[in-house]
Amino acid sequence: MSSHAATGQIDHHHDHTTTTGIPNKKLLWWAFLASDCMFFGALISTHLIYRLNPPPGNAVPTQVFNIELTSFSTFILLMSSLLMALAVNAIQRGNIKSTRVMLLGTMFFGCIFLGGQVYEFAHFVAVKKMTLSNSIFGSTFYTLTGTHGTHVAIGVLLLGMMYVRTFKPTHGNGLIKNFVHLLAVCAVMGVSFIWLVPGLIEVVYGVPLTEMLHHAAVPLAVGAVALVATFVLGRTSGDVEFGEKNAGDVEAIGLYWHFVDIVWIIIFTAVYLLEYL
C-alpha cells in the first residue's frame, strides 16, 4: 500500500513517488498523445493537400456527405467524453458501481459513433459509389476517418478491459470468468456498432424495423445473449481489488478518450464542414 493510504486520503493530482509529482502513467499518456498529434497531423495534411489538388473525376464531397447524420454522431461522441469524465470522477470518489455504469455508457456512446461511421462507409460505397480506389478523395477520406474510427474502437477495447478489471477479485483465481466477461462485453459492443446502430439508422431513414431484425437476426441474437451474459457476470458480491487507488489508470484512459474526441472535432471541421463554406 502506498504511504498516503495510511492517512485514508488519496491525492489524485500529486504522486509523491515521482520527481515532478505527476504520476508516471499519466505522463506516459500525455507524451503518447503528443506523438499521436503528429500521426493525425500527417494524415489530415495529406487529406487537405489532395483536397486542394483534385484530379479530374474526383468525388464531390458535398454530394457524398450526409452532414445531418455526421453532426448527430459527432454530438454523441462529445457526450461520451462527459460520461468518461463522470467515470473518472466516480472512481476518484471510490464509487465502483457508478464507475462501471459510466464506463459502459462511454463505450456504448463510442459504439453509436462507430455505428454511424459503419453506416456512412457502407452507404458511401453502395449508394454514392465512392470507394477507396476510385477517387483520391475516397482514398484520403476513408484512410483518415478509418484511422480515427480505429482509435475509437481501440478506446472501446481499452475501456472494456478496464471495465472487466474492476471485477478482478481480491482472492481466488477468476481469470477464465474475467476473460469470458471481456468477450461478452466485446461482443455486445461489436454487435452494437456493426449491426444494431447502422440498422437503427436505416430504420430512421425508412427501412421497416422488421426487415432490419430479419436481416441481422443472428448477430442481434448473439448480442442479446452477450448482453445477458455481461449482466450475469457483473453480479458479483466478493471483494474486488479495484478501487480508488486505480483512479490514475481510469484517468489515463480518459486522457486518450478525450484526445480522440478532440481529434474528431478537428476532422469534422477540416473534412466535413470545410466543404460547405
Partner: protein, 668 residues
C-alpha cells in the same frame, strides 16, 4: 530527506499479494539462462541485448558495404549483379540506420539513463522488454528477404531494393511487385513502433525518476541528449508511420496516395519521409554528442565547458531539426520562397552545432589531456564530424546542392557525419563503458591500433568520394565506364574500405578478447564524473544500495571529495528504505515477449496478404489474412493478460556486510 528517499522507491501500486489471483503462466523468476534473458525486465540486460543485436547488424551492414565497394573496385566490374547491388545498398542504409546506430543508442539509453539519474530501473520495465522484442521483430521482417537467395521456394523476391528512403513511385506495385517492398514497409513500421514505445518510457524515466537533488540542470549531458532524442523520436516517427501506411494502402488496398494515374502525387512521399528523415539525422547524432560530452571532460580532467549552453544547443538542434526537411528536396522544384526558407533554416541549424564544437574545444582548452582510447575516438569525432558539417553547409546553398544532389559528394558528406560522427562516438562510448558493464578493461595498445586503422581506413574510403562526386559520379550506380575518370578514386576508396574493415574487425576482436581475458577493474577506472561510476562493475541488479542524493552537476566527483558527508547520508537512506520494506524490484514477465511474437506472426503474414499460403507445394489457404488476424489476436491476448498481471515485485534487503537477501509477498 531520508523520508523522501524511502518514498521514492514506491511504485504507487500495492505489492504482490502472497498468492496472485490471476495467473495463466507462472511468473518467471529465473535470473539467468534463456528464460532469464527472454523475460528480463532489468534495464542492463535489455541494454546488453540491444547492444549485442546492434553490433551483429553493424557487422552485417559493414559486410554489405564491403560487397558494394568490391563491385566498384574497377570499372565494368561484374562481381555482383545489378539486382543484388540494389538490394545491398538498400539494406546497407536501412541496416546501418535502423538496425545498428539507433539500437546501439537505445542500448546506451537503457544501460546508462537509470544509472546516471540514480534510479533502480526505467519507469515501465515490462514495456522496456516489449520495445526490445518488437525491435527484433522489425529486424527479422527487414532481413527475411535474404532467404530467397538461399531457398528459392521462399518467394520474397530477395531483400528490399527500393533504396533506404523508398521514394514513390518506385514503391508502387507496378515497379516493385515483389513482396520484399511489403516486408520493408512493415519492417520499418514495426521498428518505428518499438522506438516510440521505448522513447515514451525514457521520457517518463528521465523526467520522473531522478534521484533527490538531481535537477534538470544537473542532469548529465548524455541523459539530456537522450531526452531530446526521445522527444524527436515520438514526434518524427508518426510522419513516416503515416507515409508507410499510405504506401501499404496503395500496394494492398488500391488507394492512390502516390499513384499518379489515380490523382496521387509522389512528391508527398518525399515530404512525409523527410519530415521524419531529417529529425532522424539528429536522432542518430544527438546521443553521440552526449557520449562525447561525457568522455571529453573525463579525459581533460575538467568539467564540461559551458554546460547550460551545450544543453540548450542540443534542444535547439532538436527544435530546428523539424524545420529543415526540404533541403533534401532542393532539386524537386519547390519554388524560390520555399527553397530560400529551407536554405536559411539549414544554415541556422549549423549555429547550435558549431556552438557545441566550440564548447568541446573549450573543455579541452587548458585541460590535462589523457589520450586513452575513448578519448582518441572522441577527438576523432570532433574533427571528422566537423568535416562532415562543412560539406553539410555547402549543401545548404541550394544552387550548389543542385550540383551535388545524388552524387558521391553527398555519400562522402553523410558518411563523414555518420561514421566520422555517430560511429566514432559510439566506438568511444563502447570502449569507455565496457569496463562498467563487464568489469574488465580493454587493452590500451590494441584499442589504439584499432583506432588508427579505423581512422586511416575511414578517411581513405570517404575523402576521395568528395572528388568523385564533384566529378559527377552518381550515387547508387552499379558500375561505371573506364573512361569517366573515376577509376583511381574508386580504387583508392575500396582499398580504404578494406582497411576500415580490418580496423572494425580488430576493434571487436579486442572487445571479445577483453570480455574473457581483460584486466579486472574497480568501480571507477577512468576517475569519471557521473553516478554510474559510483557503483560496482558490473552493476548489481538493484544498481544502487542507497539511492544517491545529488549535490552537484558532476555528482560522483562531489561524492569523491565529500566522502564523510556522503557515507552518513547513504547509511541513513539504507536504513530508511529498509524500514519501509527494503529495495523494491519489479517482477519479470512472459507477456511482452508473447505480444511481440503475436506481432511477428501478424505482420509477417500481413506482408504477404494477397498471396496464398502454400505448404509443401499445396495451397492451404487462399490468402494470409486468417494467419495475420491470428497473430493480431495473440498480441491482444498477451496485452490483456499483461494488463491483469500487475507490476508485481519483490524486495531486496542488504545487511551491513553487503549480503543481499530476497523476500517476496506481504506488504510493509
Amino acid at each position: 530527506m531520508a523520508q523522501a528517499i524511502a518514498k521514492s522507491d514506491y511504485t504507487g501500486a500495492s505489492h504482490a499479494p502472497a498468492k496472485p489471483t490471476f495467473e495463466l503462466f507462472t511468473r518467471p523468476t529465473a535470473k539467468t539462462g534463456l528464460v532469464g534473458w527472454l523475460t528480463t525486465v532489468d534495464h542492463k540486460k535489455i541494454g546488453l541485448m540491444y547492444g549485442g543485436f546492434a553490433i551483429l547488424f553493424f557487422l552485417i551492414g559493414g559486410l554489405e558495404a564491403l560487397m558494394i565497394r568490391t563491385q566498384l573496385l574497377v570499372p565494368n566490374n561484374r562481381f555482383i549483379s545489378a539486382q543484388l547491388y540494389n538490394e545491398l545498398f538498400t539494406m546497407h542504409g536501412t541496416t546501418m540506420i535502423f538496425l545498428a546506430v539507433m539500437p546501439l543508442n537505445a542500448a546506451f539509453f537503457n544501460l546508462l539513463i537509470p544509472l546516471q539519474i540514480g534510479a533502480r530501473d526505467v519507469a515501465f520495465p515490462r514495456l522496456n522488454t516489449f520495445s526490445l522484442w518488437v525491435w527484433v521483430v522489425g529486424a527479422i521482417l527487414l532481413n527475411v528477404g535474404w532467404l530467397s537467395h538461399f531457398v528459392p521456394s521462399w518467394k520474397f523476391g530477395g531483400a528490399p531494393d527500393v533504396g533506404w528512403f523508398g521514394y514513390a513511385p518506385l514503391t508502387s506495385k507496378i515497379f516493385t511487385p515483389d513482396m520484399s517492398t511489403d516486408l520493408w514497409v512493415l519492417g520499418l513500421q514495426v521498428l518505428g513502433l518499438s522506438s516510440i514505445v521505448a522513447s515514451l518510457n525514457f521520457i517518463v524515466t528521465i523526467i520522473n525518476m531522478r534521484a533527490p537533488g538531481l535537477t534538470m540542470m544537473r542532469l548529465p549531458v548524455f541523459t539530456w541528449m537522450a531526452l531530446v532524442t526521445s522527444f524527436l523520436l515520438i514526434l518524427a516517427l508518426p510522419a513516416i508511420a503515416i507515409a508507410l501506411i499510405e504506401v501499404m494502402m496503395d500496394r494492398n488496398f488500391g488507394t492512390s496516395f502516390f499513384e499518379v494515374s489515380g490523382g496521387g502525387q509522389p512528391i508527398l512521399w518525399q515530404h512525409l519521409f523527410w519530415v521524419f528523415g531529417h529529425p532522424e539525422v539528429y536522432i542518430l547524432i544527438l546521443p553521440p554528442m552526449g557520449y562525447v560530452s561525457e568522455i571529453l571532460p573525463t579525459f581533460s580532467r575538467k568539467p564540461l565547458f559551458g554546460y547550460p549552453i551545450v544543453v540548450f544547443s542540443g534542444v535547439a538542434i532538436g527544435f530546428i531539426g523539424f524545420g529543415v526537411w526540404s533541403h533534401h528536396m532542393f532539386t524537386t522544384g519547390m519554388g524560390t520562397i520555399a527553397t530560400a526558407a529551407f536554405s536559411l533554416a539549414t544554415m541556422a541549424i549549423a549555429v547550435p552545432t558549431g556552438v557545441k564544437i566550440f564548447n568541446w574545444i573549450g573543455t579541452l582548452w587548458g585541460g590535462r589531456i589523457v589520450t586513452r582510447v575513448p578519448m582518441m575516438f572522441a577527438l576523432g569525432f570532433i574533427w571528422m564530424f566537423m568535416l562532415g558539417g562543412f560539406s553539410g553547409i555547402m549543401h545548404s546553398a541550394a544552387p550548389a546542392d543542385a550540383q551535388q544532389q545524388d552524387s558521391y559528394f553527398v555519400i562522402a558528406h553523410f558518411h563523414y557525419v555518420l561514421i566520422g560522427g555517430a560511429t566514432f562516438a559510439l566506438l568511444a562510448a563502447i570502449h569507455f563503458w565496457f569496463p562498467k558493464f563487464f568489469g574488465r578493461m580493454v587493452p590500451e595498445f590494441w584499442g589504439k591500433v584499432s583506432f588508427w586503422l579505423i581512422f586511416v581506413g575511414f578517411n581513405a574510403t570517404f575523402f576521395p568520394m568528395h572528388f568523385l562526386g564533384l566529378n559527377g559520379m552518381p550515387r547508387r550506380t552499379w558500375t561505371y565506364d573506364a573512361n569517366m575518370g573515376w577509376n583511381e578514386g574508386n580504387f583508392f576508396a575500396t582499398c580504404g574500405a578494406y582497411l576500415l574493415g580490418v580496423g572494425i574487425f580488430t576493434y571487436f576482436a579486442v572487445l571479445i578478447w577483453s570480455f574473457f581475458k581483460g584486466q579486472k577493474c574497480g568501480n571507477d577506472p577512468w576517475d569519471a564524473r557521473t553516478l554510474e561510476w559510483s557503483i560496482p562493475s558490473p552493476p548489481p541488479e538493484h544498481n544502487f544500495a542507497a539511492i544517491p542524493t545529488v549535490h552537484a552537476r558532476d555528482g560522483w566527483w562531489y561524492e569523491k571529495t565529500h566522502k564523510e558527508e556522503i557515507a552518513k547520508e547513504k547509511a541513513a537512506h539504507i536504513k530508511a528504505e529498509e524500514s519501509h520494506g527494503g529495495i523494491h524490484m519489479p517482477d519479470q514477465s512472459w507477456y511482452p515477449l508473447f505480444a511481440a511474437i503475436g506481432l511477428l506472426i501478424g505482420t509477417y503474414n500481413f506482408a504477404q496478404l494477397h498471396h496464398p499460403v502454400v505448404m509443401f507445394g499445396n495451397t492451404v489457404l487462399a490468402s494470409h489474412l486468417p494467419l495475420a488476424i491470428a497473430g493480431g489476436v495473440i498480441m491482444v491476448l498477451a496485452l490483456y493478460l499483461w494488463s491483469l498481471e500487475g507490476p508485481g515485485g519483490y524486495h531486496l534487503h542488504i545487511d551491513e556486510k553487503g549480503n543481499i537477501k530476497e523476500s517476496r509477498g506481504g506488504s510493509h
